[in-house]
Symmetry: C2
Subunit: 276 residues, 2 copies
C-alpha cells in the first residue's frame, strides 16, 4: 500500500493494455499529429519512447514554463497507464537531452532551454568521439580554425567601444597572470569567449566555448606552451587592434597567425618528445 498508485484497482491497466494501448488513448486526447514530418508511425518502438514523445509534446504545447515542476513519476505513471520504468526511462532521456532537471527527493523541473546548456550536455559524447578517433580531432581543429577566423571578422565589424574595453581588460588580466598557468589558460579561454560574444549570437558563444574546452582536453591546438606566454599576449593584442580598427581582413589574419602558431609549436614541441 505504500507505493504504486494506490487508487487504481490491480490488474485493471494490464488487462486493458492488451486490447488498446493506453498510449494511443492518450494521444487521441491531445492529438499532436504532423509535428515534424507527417509520419504514420506504425513502427514498434519502445514504450518509453512513446511516453517520451508525449512528455515532449506536453513540454512544447502546454504552459510548462521553465522552472515549472512536472508531475511526479507516480502521477505520470497513473496518467499514462504504464509502469514506472517506462516513465522513468522517458524522464531520464529528457534529462540527458537537457530538457528537464531531476534531483533526488524533488519533483522534476522543466529546464530553461538554452543553447549553452545543450552544448554542454553534448560535450560528453563529443569527448568520447575525439578520444576514439584522431581523425575527428583533426576535423574539429580545422573547424575551429575557420570558426574563430569568422568570429574575428564578425567582431571587427560589430564591435562597440564597450566590447573593445572588455577585450583589453581580459588581455591585461591575462598578461598579469603569466606566472600562473591555470589562471593564464582561464583568461585565454575568456578572451575567445568574449570575442565570440561580440557577435551577439549565443550559438557562437556556446560553440566557441565548447570547442575550446574540447580541444583543451586533448592538449591539441590552442594549447599554451610554457615560455611562450608573452607571444600569446602579443598576438591577442594584435587581434584586438585589428578589431579596434574595424579591419575584418586584418583581424582574420591575426587570428589565423595566432592559431597557426599554436598548432605549429604544439607539433614541434610535443611530437618530438611524446607525452609528459
Amino acid at each position: 500500500m505504500q507505493d504504486q498508485r494506490p487508487n487504481i484497482p490491480p490488474r485493471a491497466r494490464s488487462a486493458c493494455a492488451v486490447v488498446t494501448k493506453p498510449l494511443e488513448l492518450f494521444r487521441s486526447l491531445y492529438d499532436f499529429g504532423a509535428m515534424t514530418a507527417t509520419k504514420p508511425k506504425p513502427r514498434k518502438k519502445n514504450l518509453s519512447h512513446d511516453i517520451r514523445e508525449s512528455l515532449l509534446a506536453l513540454l512544447e504545447n502546454d504552459a510548462y514554463g521553465p522552472g515549472a515542476a512536472l508531475p511526479s513519476e507516480r502521477e505520470l505513471m497513473a496518467q499514462f497507464g504504464v509502469g514506472r520504468p517506462a516513465v522513468r526511462e522517458a524522464m531520464q532521456h529528457l534529462q540527458v537531452m537537457g530538457l528537464v532537471e531531476i534531483r533526488h527527493g524533488e519533483r522534476a523541473k522543466v529546464a530553461e532551454p538554452s543553447i549553452g546548456k545543450m552544448v554542454e550536455h553534448f560535450s560528453g559524447t563529443m569527448r568520447h568521439l575525439l578520444a576514439t578517433s584522431s581523425a575527428n580531432l583533426e576535423h574539429l581543429k580545422t573547424a575551429r580554425f575557420a570558426f574563430e577566423k569568422a568570429m574575428a571578422q564578425e567582431a571587427a565589424r560589430m564591435r562597440t567601444t564597450s566590447d573593445l574595453e572588455r577585450l583589453r581588460r581580459i588581455v591585461d588580466a591575462q598578461a598579469g597572470a603569466m606566472s600562473d598557468m591555470t589562471s593564464f589558460l582561464t583568461h585565454d579561454r575568456e578572451f575567445h569567449r568574449a570575442l565570440a560574444s561580440i557577435s551577439g549570437n549565443p550559438i557562437y558563444t556556446a560553440l566557441a566555448e565548447a570547442m575550446f574546452g574540447w580541444l583543451a582536453d586533448f592538449h591539441a591546438d590552442t594549447v599554451i606552451l610554457p615560455g611562450r606566454e608573452q607571444l600569446t599576449i602579443d598576438e591577442h593584442l594584435e587581434i584586438v587592434d585589428a578589431i579596434e580598427a574595424k579591419n575584418a581582413a586584418r583581424a582574420a589574419k591575426a587570428m589565423h597567425d595566432h592559431l597557426t602558431r599554436a598548432n605549429v609549436l604544439y607539433h614541434r614541441t610535443y611530437l618530438a618528445s611524446p607525452e609528459p
Copy 2:
C-alpha cells in the same frame, strides 16, 4: 530463480555495499584517473552515473571496437554488483548519447562513433529548443547564413572537377523536378550537402545537413516557395559558376543573395497571411 544473477547468494552484495562501494572496487581495478580534468569528484551522484562512467571508460580504453557486443545487462549487473535498473539506466544513457545500440532480444552493440550520428541524436533537443524559443530560431538562421557563406568560399577554393560535375548533376536533377515539390526540396537539400562535403570535413557536412533539416522543419529560411523554383535554380547555378571560377568572394556573394532572397520572400509571403 528465473531471473537476476542466480549464482550470487542473496544479500551478499547489499551487505558489502555498505562497507565499500562496489564501484570503487571496480574503479581500482582499472584505474582511469585524470581522464579529462583531474577532478577528485567527491560529489554524490546517481549510482547509474557511476556505472555509466565505468562503461564509458571501458568503451574508450578496452578493445571494444565498433560493432562489438557488450555483456548482457545481467552480466554487467553481476560484474558491477548493482541492480538491473542501475545498469539499465546507464545503458539507456549511453544509447541516447549514441555510443551503443540496443535492440530487443539482442545484445547491446558498440556503435561506431561518427559526427553525423551524433548530430542526428542531437536533433531532437535542437528541435525542442527552436520550438520553444523564436529567438533561437533567428540565431540559428544567422549562424547558418554565415556557415553557408563560409562553405561556398571553401568550396570555391578546394573544388575538384568531379566536385563540380556532381554539383551540376544535382542542379540538373533539381531543374527536372520542378513539378514535384518534395523531390525539389530533396534535391535542394542535397545541393547544400554536396557543397559542404567539398571541404572534406565531415563536421561541415553533418552541420550543413542538420541545419537545413532544423530550419526546414520550421518553414523558416531555406524554404522553397511555389512559383519561384526557376529562381532557385538560377541562383544555384550562379553559385556553381562562382565555384567553377574558383572565385571565393563571388561564391560568397552568390550564396548570400541566395539565402537573403529566400528569407525576404519568406517574410513577405508568410508573415502577411500567417499559417496555412
